[in-house]
Each structure stands twice: as structure tokens, then as C-alpha cells.
Amino acid sequence: MIDWAKLRADFPILDQQVHGHPLVYFDNAASSQKPRAVINALSHYYERDNANVHRGIHELSNRATAAFEASRERVAKFIHAKTSDEIIFTRGTTEGINLVAQSWGAKNLKPGDKILLTEMEHHSNIVPWQLIAERTGARLVYLPVTGDEGLLDLSKLNELLTREVKLFAFTHISNSLGTVNPVAELCERARKLGVTTLVDAAQSAGHLPLDVQAIGCDFLVFSGHKICGPTGIGVLWGRQEVLDAMPPYHGGGEMILTVDFFKTTYKKAPHRFEAGTPDISGVIGLHAALDYLDAIGRENIFKHDQELATYAYDQLAQLKGVRLFGPKTGRAGLVSFLLDDVHAHDVVTVADQRGVALRGGHHCNQPLMKKLGIASTARASFYFYNTRAEVDRFIEVVRGIQKFFGS
């Protein structure tokens, strides 16, 4: 039996009043809060071990390097990578996708090729592909979303996933709809045609168990800050043979074997893709976050988040004048909604004054919003430290908002 209240007490930030009300933090899909274990790992590193990694010969540099590489091993275990050489540290999900687009894409895409995305992608899984498509002459195609229920229209997959597609990139969990996509099935379909796959795990890492072997993708990306880790650190996993065939992304120190005035030879992955001094403290903080999450168990976290989201969805569905987005069942830990005649930003401003932190806007999903015929939604997104009582408070606040705006 997990003591959720005890886990919540590990997050000092949650124990505060906002505008005179107890904080209800429901913006976890944007960024999660950090447990003491992660905050302590950061201060311990800066108080005891801080030095540059890989190049030093002194004690502190050795310690920093050992901690840095231990985190790479930890990440490899976290997602069942074959080897830690497949783990590249990035600034976050966005940089991971840009790295693949610029490095893999520039080498492998040519005019006439297609890049298949889905209509529910975050801007960070659209814009990098537009940039490389423009450079290479490749074209973008989109797997449609069914509508408010927010499922991928898999009946269109045969028609769209053809041999002209060189890369299929899709999100594991939609940040605005809460849809959990059948990633293993999508990867299997792609693999049969020799299509390379990238899974955006920004919303799923740290929320459910991840196994890149079981998923069967070629690339997987996620961020540290959404899963109790520090900001500014993320992970790109790629199959070793795919990574080793990719040209460097950024040039600089750390990524070279030999440098001549006119010619350089590069290290293999992962170092080939990690030019310059990395975010050492971020990497060490991420290690602490992964340990923390796995002590709880990601399957337990998913169950807890899903229960809260289902409860919130059902409660909202009982109110009049509420439009709900995303699947009715099997959703991940978030709920997107609109109130009749009340703009999402007004909902969020009033909720904030009652201590409830929501997100309102297009959630970096502008094309999807256009397709659904809306400009924005309000979103409540949950993590394991949130409680049913907080959902009750949120519903009470939503009722108050409806009354306030007379809808």
C-alpha cells in the first residue's frame, strides 16, 4: 500500500498558500514539482563535487564524471536501453527532436520523401520537421485525429503509412487530450515498411513504465523537468546502429577524437552528440528523480493519475455547459475542457485567484485546436502527489467560475 500523503510531504513547494488559498497544483503536464531528494542531489553536487566532466584528472572532476556517467546508466535502465551509449543528454524533448531532425533528417531525407506525423503533435514535434522538410524537399503528412474524443484515426494508417514515408514521429500521450496512443502497434506497422520511428515521451516518461524494446521505436525523447527532475535536462534515446550512422549535431569540445585545423574526427554516440560542457547538475538531479519515481513504481503512478483524471472528467461531465476533450476511457492523467461562453484564460485567471493552478491556451497544439474549431482549452493535469480532495476543490472552483460569468 502506497502512502501517497507521505510522498506529497516530500515536495516542499506544495505546502503553501496562493492568493490566500491552499495551493492546488494542476499544471503537471507543463512542469512537475521536485521532491527534496532531487533538490538535495543538486545542492550536494554543488557543495561537494562540482567540477567539469570527462577532461579532468583531479578528484572533483573524477567524482563529477562518475556521477554524470552513473546517471546515463540509470536512464538506460529506466527505459530498457541495451546500453548506456544509446543515451544522449539534451536540454529537453524539444532539443532531442531537433537533433534527430537536423542530424538524421539531413542525412536520410530527400525530395519526394514523406515525414508522417499526427494531428495531435505538440509544436515541438511539428516545427523541427517543417524546418528539415524545407531543407531537404521532403513533405509532411498527418494522421488525423477523430475529433473531440481525440483518438488517432487508425483506419487511415494504411493509406498514409507508405514506403515513401521515411520517418514516422508521434506522441505517446497527448498533452492536450490525454490520449494514450498505441505506440507499439504504430512502431510495428512502421517497421514492416522499413520506416524509422520517433516516440515523443514527454508526457509518458515518469508517468508509466517505458520499455523501448517493447515499444520497438528507433528514437525516443523526453524531458527531466516534467518527471520530478531539474529544468534544462532531457534525454534522447536512439538505437546504437542508427546513432552511429548519424553526423554530429553541434560541434565543439567533448565530441571529438582529433581536431586538425581543417579536419576533425568524431567520437561515437553518445559523446558525438554532446558538444561542450553539459548540464552536469541537471543530469545528476535527473538520476535522483528516476530513483525517486521507481521507488514508487511507475505502474502505481499511472494508476493513481488515471483515477484522478477519470474522477475529474466524470465530475466535469456532470456540470452543465462543459465541453470535454480527449477519450472517455483509458485517458492519461489530464483533463482538457471548455466552459460555455467563458474563455479558457478567464477560467485560469479566476482559478488562480482561488489557489488552483491550471493551464489555459492552445497548449502548443495550434493545428489541433484549429481542427477542433477552438482557440484554446483549460487543462488540469495531475501527478502522484495530487489528491481526490484537490479535484473536489477544483470542481467547486469551476462551479464558482460558471456562476461568476453567469454561464
Binding site: 461562453d341 479558457a344 484564460h345 485567471t349 485567484q353 492552445h362 482557440a375 464558482g400 461568476f404
Partner: protein
């Protein structure tokens, strides 16, 4: 509701957001300006009928939050009969008021209801969005203008 909220969503603002005035395309308009906020997707088009330097009529269309809609509604009411220079001088005062909360002695008329917005930094853009459209229109620009 808290005092700050009551100050933000004053009765006049709620009234104008629920029933916006001048909310139509203007027949015979000779100026048009657009305001777009890429953060939230809010988008307004302001239509003006100008006689020389004077705004004879003003209307708007578009969608957005309560603050931005009420602002467009009140502002299209307020600028009727004003010259281009007067509209710009009014914008300077309103901008100052919305960002600092200080209501100018010179008076901003009914637009004083937006003074409470300064306590909500994330919403300042909402109150100013349609102003960008108006300024673009009186300046005779027909390009969309961004608030960023």
C-alpha cells in the same frame, strides 16, 4: 470572489464581454486593423470609417477572452469622433494605466475600468490587443499586427 478579481472583472467589463457593442463588420469601412496574440490565439479585426483624420465609426469582429472582448467593445465606443492624434494620445494613457494601475488626471473615460488589469501581468496583453488593431487601422496599415 477576491477583491482583485472584482477589480479585474468589473461589472462594466462583464457586461461588455457578454454583450459586446459594435460587434459587427462595418459597412463602408475604409480602414482595417488586426490584432493577434500568438500566446492564446486571440484575434480581433477592427473596422474604421475615417473622414480625413477623424474616426466616424468603429466596429470589431473576432474572438478572445472576456478582458480582450470588453476592451475592444469599450474602445470602439470611445474612439468615435476622435482624431487620429487623440486616439494615439488616449492609447498612451490607457497603456500607462493598464501597466501601472495609475489613472491619469487627463481622464480615460469609461476605459478606467481596466485599471485593475495591472495586478494580473499575464492579462495585460489581453486588454491591449484590440488597441494594436486600432492603431494599425488609424495609421492606415492593412497588415496583421502581433502583440509580441
Amino acid at each position: 470572489m477576491s477583491d482583485d478579481l472584482d477589480e479585474l472583472y468589473q461589472q462594466v467589463i462583464l457586461d461588455h464581454c457578454k454583450g459586446p457593442r459594435n460587434f459587427r463588420v462595418l459597412e463602408g469601412a475604409n480602414r482595417k486593423g488586426e490584432g493577434y496574440n500568438p500566446l492564446c490565439g486571440d484575434n480581433y479585426t477592427v473596422f474604421l470609417k475615417m473622414n480625413g483624420d477623424v474616426v466616424e465609426d468603429a466596429t470589431f469582429q473576432g474572438s478572445g477572452c472576456c478582458i480582450s472582448k470588453a476592451s475592444a467593445s469599450l474602445l470602439t465606443d470611445t474612439i468615435k469622433g476622435k482624431t487620429k492624434a487623440e486616439v494615439k494620445a488616449l492609447f498612451a494613457k490607457v497603456h500607462d494605466m493598464i501597466t501601472t494601475g495609475a489613472v491619469s488626471d487627463e481622464g480615460v473615460g469609461k476605459l478606467a475600468v481596466f485599471a485593475g488589469v495591472h495586478k494580473f501581468p499575464a492579462r495585460v496583453k489581453c486588454a491591449i490587443l484590440s488597441w494594436h488593431a486600432v492603431i494599425a487601422a488609424v495609421d492606415g496599415e492593412n497588415q496583421p499586427v502581433s502583440t509580441e
